[in-house]
Symmetry: C2
Subunit: 365 residues, 2 copies
Amino acid sequence: MDAYQTLVDYQQRVDQALQKFFPEKVEEARRFDAATVDSMAALSEFTLRKAKRLRAAFLYYGYACFADPIRYDKVSKAQKGTDVGNAGITGNDNHLLYASLAMELLQSHLLIHDDIMDRDHIRRGKPTIHVQYASQRDAHYGNSMALCIGNYGIDHAVRILNKSQFPSKRKERAIEELLIFVQKVIQGQIRDLRPELRSEQEILKTYELKSATYTVEGPLHVGAILAGARPPALRLLSRYALPLGIAFQLRDDINGLYGDEEKTGKPADSDVKQGKYTLLMARALAAGTPAEQATLRSALGNQQLTTQQLDQVREIVKQRSLDSIVALAQQKMEEAVRAIQDALFRAKGKEFLLGITDFIARRDH
Amino acid sequence: MDAYQTLVDYQQRVDQALQKFFPEKVEEARRFDAATVDSMAALSEFTLRKAKRLRAAFLYYGYACFADPIRYDKVSKAQKGTDVGNAGITGNDNHLLYASLAMELLQSHLLIHDDIMDRDHIRRGKPTIHVQYASQRDAHYGNSMALCIGNYGIDHAVRILNKSQFPSKRKERAIEELLIFVQKVIQGQIRDLRPELRSEQEILKTYELKSATYTVEGPLHVGAILAGARPPALRLLSRYALPLGIAFQLRDDINGLYGDEEKTGKPADSDVKQGKYTLLMARALAAGTPAEQATLRSALGNQQLTTQQLDQVREIVKQRSLDSIVALAQQKMEEAVRAIQDALFRAKGKEFLLGITDFIARRDH
């Protein structure tokens, strides 16, 4: 089976598990009050929006690089001799599926807070949380509610790992790993807020922190740690994860300018309106004529951006930097593949890791 | 020794431990970049501001209710026969002191985010984090930076517990407890944002969630769990903690109107300017004449509040509700004392818990 199909299948399992997880949480909230029910329902709705579940999958297949995700349990006497075949043992991987939900809750935490900071209006095809609540009163109320609901996300992410059915020492290391990579994401977000960090090198460093760590490296590490992997194996995974994560972000930037709204889940002009200083844009600015530079600068961060201006931006970037960014993403992807080509990982994990790179580096989703 | 002096002594130990903790974190940040160093330094400065360290102390004495905080270790051969007396064993309680720092990092997380939501300008006698950063650019940048820096706080709080030197199963339960009480605080904060929850009963419920759980109950529970306490003991602690936490909040409300700025660390008019709908205010509004009600309503949330108006508010509240709130705080304090008067807790913990109630219920600090 190809890795993309594997991802799609896993996505369905994650969606089903989240559809079971959240009603329980909303039910728990009923013991408190309507306000809690409402905010937990908002976290639920946001998390359940259509998403690739890539981070949950990386956790799962990070584990699969080092151990069999299926746990075989001895069947009880009552079950024996009934309909259980398979030499008296039965098994499943639900414990690992459950742990991988932590990545999706973490994702909600980060996206909800990021949307406040970026003043984004649409996420996963629907209004962002702060915009939803702002419409009930005002922008400050919207931001405050999104701040609180985002905080529920990290809380649940850690609780899921903490309660998962793995040996305590591994869970401790996994929680430490998660919290360290969350710190890196925060660092990346802070760098994003600082306009002085705009050299090519600084942009790539920000991409590594805000994207590569939490999209690829962190989830893989958490999965690997739950399977008992040691630091040398984690370092090897990083040599795959960091370039792949950067390729992912470079593709995300391209999709942010040329992507299909249906697939990206956000308006095609939002990156430019927000003034996102992507590597794609930085290279176009560096390579453009003075007139082109002026056009790009007047478009970036312009809330009144017209369709015509957006088309001009697309054309300039296409002329000046698109090919070089596509090539860089391809190069980073190949770097990722080379890093683990000869690694002694278990086949189930390694096949997914190698197979998914192509999807990530040429994604238009 | 009286409990207040015990608290002051413990405060000094916490301050010293934090003064050791943060330079290490800032040093770690140097491996990344100047932006990270700057934001970690901001979290450090905020956390190190003068504070009572009440939550850290409750963790410590929650532990002391069930086990001896001093851990005696066998001395090594090299140490034997040198200057170590005491039957060949030596000990300290630094592991517990370290774990209790989690409460102060959590406190920073909650205060930094709360200050964004409440639009507070001064905290612990100095500008709030969002105000500090807003002055560098604009309000949105200030809020975004405070959002990120506040997130570092919860991250460090969980990491501290996760890395502390207690048995894994206890740490797991302690982390779960911490994350559950953080969820309650978020619930309290969300309730605070909702003006419809203004009956006396609803206000007290909000106080329980946003104050009592995280000031008293949560820290006590985490400490008790680290000492191996079981659910019935935790329930007993709750019967002490929740009324005491409400007494604490009622006193906080009184200090917010009549307190000394030096002691409260915030301007004397900030609660009224913010429009904080305290029980003190709710009762004054309920009991006042129509003219008094009009005065209170025009003062609440009024950013242009004059000294004369503030004095009018103080006088009305003094006439209409102050005594009843002082009495309610006293009653809640007594309820707390009665709950554990006959409990079979260890003396060191119980003495602190009983002794500190008086300080909390009559505090003007």
